[in-house]
Assembly symmetry: C2
Homo-oligomer: 479 residues x 2
């Protein structure tokens, strides 16, 4: 009897294709990976049009880029909202067949087209076409997702085990459909309204402040009626973050490969045929590349260390993660700006300060994820990094390193504005070493604090001996 049950379970869980005619049923794992990769890329590459904006020397960087950056952030949020809806959908549907895979591809195609409609909207705020295209895309995405839901509920073996055994499955189906269709319906009414009262809509929507996503994201959250600590698939949050970090890290090398291979005829004319001299002219850009790659890599490293000890991701943590990623996506822009202006110009200073601000926010939102996780540490964190855990302080130091360094650099560039570029590059070079020696630095700091505040309990000598032992351990480990 027991054998029979376990055999059946195995059939249901691992090989649903063994059930006769369901031979084409598949695990959704790779489909979700591919979707995550697509969405993370499309969310991030939208920084490129911003980064490729040519800035004139007599203009201020800040004023020119504000609109473009706003568009970038909005696009990032819109795409992320679509991604969150996708996660929820495929937390209900856990297996796919060919038909679902093709429907999902159609849905992805429209999601990747959203950024374009949005940039049309931003470039032509007075034209109705952008709004109509955007609403049309959102509506079709909604319709496709509804078809996916209907298809999955008519083939119950595709659903989550929990829902499969639910009595009120049809009630649940109509609930999901309602939730999915509400955003497209809002878009439908918005587009109809905009066709009739275009001037009115334009005045109210665009002249007040930000369009689209800000209106949308709270709605989506309300409609799904999930609490902020509702779980969100940790695997997919990690996959999406990996995609964003990877594409951000490579965006600059892409620009370098395209623009910084000098033209052979130019080299002959201007540099007397000396390739080294020609490449020297691009020096700052290589520095920017390595700096940006190292920063993105280390931010990924901090993110990776954090999520290694997070046992359960909530929707609120996902939101903070999205904010952090939106700033990470701005890094290539910041780095490109740092080497575009003449040394010691006001623009160069501003560009460096923007870089510091971006790094600061990217890091501080990562730290915020940890702080939020600490509030419910019993559910969300590994014992090691809980408050009073043996790795707690170390994790805190890892996550706080970049925000602190960025803040210090920012104020230093304010005071010593003449040396801002050197300070910034020095920061870039020292941070990786700080990460390598972090464990040691933290222990040194702690022992100094311990010595200052409770000197009677531990002698300074013992603390230093401990530290030297650690140093030796690290040295032997590195060689």
């Amino acid at each position: 009897m027991e054998e029979f049950v376990s055999r059946e379970q195995q059939v249901v869980e691992e090989e649903p294709e063994a059930n006769g005619h369901h031979s084409s049923t598949q695990s959704s794992h790779r489909l979700l990976n591919y979707s995550d990769a697509l969405i993370s890329i499309i969310a991030t590459v939208m920084i490129l049009p911003v980064a490729h904006t040519k800035v004139e020397d007599n203009e201020s960087v800040q004023t020119l880029l504000t609109t473009k950056i706003a568009v970038y952030l909005m696009t990032f949020l819109i795409v992320t909202v679509a991604w969150a809806a996708h996660i929820r959908l495929f937390q209900v549907i856990v297996r796919i067949d060919d038909c679902l895979a093709l429907l999902n591809l159609a849905c992805m195609m429209l999601i990747t087209f959203l950024p374009y409609t949005f940039s049309l909207m931003a470039t032509f705020p007075e034209n109705i076409l952008g709004i109509l295209l955007f609403c049309g895309c959102v509506m079709v995405i909604g319709v496709i997702q509804s078809i996916i839901v209907l298809y999955a509920f008519s083939h119950p073996y595709l659903l989550n085990q929990q829902i499969q055994s639910l009595e009120s499955r049809s009630f649940y189906k109509s609930h999901i459909l309602k939730v999915i269709m509400r955003v497209p319906l809002v878009c439908f009414f918005a587009s109809v309204t905009s066709l009739i009262f275009f001037q009115l809509v334009h005045d109210t929507v665009f002249n007040t402040s930000v369009p689209g996503p800000v209106e949308e994201s709270p709605e989506v959250e309300l409609f799904y009626s999930f609490l902020p600590n509702e779980p969100l698939s940790k695997e997919r949050v990690e996959a999406f973050s990996d995609g964003v970090y990877a594409i951000v890290a490579t965006l600059l090398i892409l620009d370098i490969c395209e623009d910084n291979v000098p033209d052979p005829t130019l080299v002959k004319q201007h540099f007397g045929g000396s390739l080294v001299a020609a490449l020297k002219a691009y020096g700052p850009e290589y520095l920017a590349y390595f700096g940006s790659f190292a920063t993105v890599g280390l931010l990924w490293f901090a993110h990776h260390s954090l999520f290694l000890h997070v046992t359960r991701t909530t929707r609120f943590m996902g939101l903070l993660n999205t904010f952090s990623l939106a700033f990470v996506g701005g890094l290539p822009l910041a780095y490109q700006l740092t080497h575009e202006f003449p040394p010691n110009s006001r623009n160069e200073l501003e560009a460096i300060q923007i870089s510091c601000v971006i790094i600061f926010f990217a890091g501080i939102f990562q730290l915020a994820i940890f702080v939020v996780a600490l509030y419910r540490q019993q559910e969300t964190l590994h014992p090691y990094v809980r408050y009073n855990g043996q790795e707690h302080i170390f994790m805190l130091a890892k996550l706080a390193l970049y925000p602190c360094v960025a803040l210090v650099t920012f104020f230093l560039t304010c005071i010593l504005s003449r040396f801002s570029a050197s300070i910034f590059h020095l920061m870039e070079i020292t941070v990786p070493f700080a990460f390598i020696l972090l464990r040691l630095l933290v222990r040194l700091l702690l022992s100094i604090l311990r010595y200052i505040f409770c000197p009677e309990r531990i002698s300074l000598q013992r603390i230093l001996e401990e530290d030297i032992e650690d140093l030796n351990a690290i040295n032997t480990a590195n060689t």
Copy 2:
């Protein structure tokens, strides 16, 4: 006793950080995902400089692009060779700590820099600097990988269970080190030689045929002395392929977002303020985008279906997969070319034919993977798709669809060259429907064949009834 053993196993397998001082040991899963994403992006985006080449109308597409495409293919192969070395390294090292993660990031940074050095080499074939930079990068990568090996062997808990329990671990270590260091050493001698006898090297290496990778990849294979059916992590092959498909699918929308948002002042001057008229001018580019996305998506779909039924990946299958991906990476270029030339020009015809050739090869190499897998079907394939399995014919049809369609389109465009663009677009539109109805089409074809060759056994009516039942089943499934 049994409980004790299982507890210990759990500690070793799942929570190696519980072993006292190894608290920072981590599973390498996410590090590998991130590396795969980085390498797949960097391998693929190198098509962009090729795609952005401006082609004059009086030049032939083929002659101009040949060099650039050769550079792209070479870069793709070089990066893939580096990726294969990375897979092998992390099949030995299965756990990481902070130090290994940082070393790996440094290694990744240099790998992403390789394409730039290679395009320098290609642009300045007579200059020694490109070769030196390339060799320098390869050498530093080798040194970092050796450090990774040394570090991992000095902390045996990071290694593969098998190697951990090996008696001759130090022998194995020196074997791996030898294998890893051979390529950098070859590069070192190449650079020294090139410094001394530059003219000679230049003549022999560059004037013979192709540089770098072709010399390298067989060497790497020989040196590792693995057989072609040596297993290669299936997970990582999938992750890498997903990355390539995802970035290829989004490359065109990236171009569209950057270039095809019309300038407001231009719209006012040329189109009398009508945005619709201005966007109509970009019509072919949208068509190209949706066509390219659909093709890439469906090729991914075929790949996904194939690897779902592949149980074990060999090195030879990995190689075929790389070739397939290299052609997939060329798709954005092909699609960009199709809409760049005036209708009915010779260049347009050539561009469309290049597209067909690329699609053909991308598909045929996927088919080749399946054929190779069939040779050792007992080990590498799921019973369903083995020869005589119930899904065998269907899988074959899925994989053969694109090569066949591309071939037919190619010959049609040769004969009816005036209608080449319409034929191509018609092909793009019909293929997705062909995929949806594939199961039906295959059965229809089979039953017709059965009827023709053995009409006495089955009556035509019964076959048709069967087919109509299937049709009904599909229809009810879709509604």
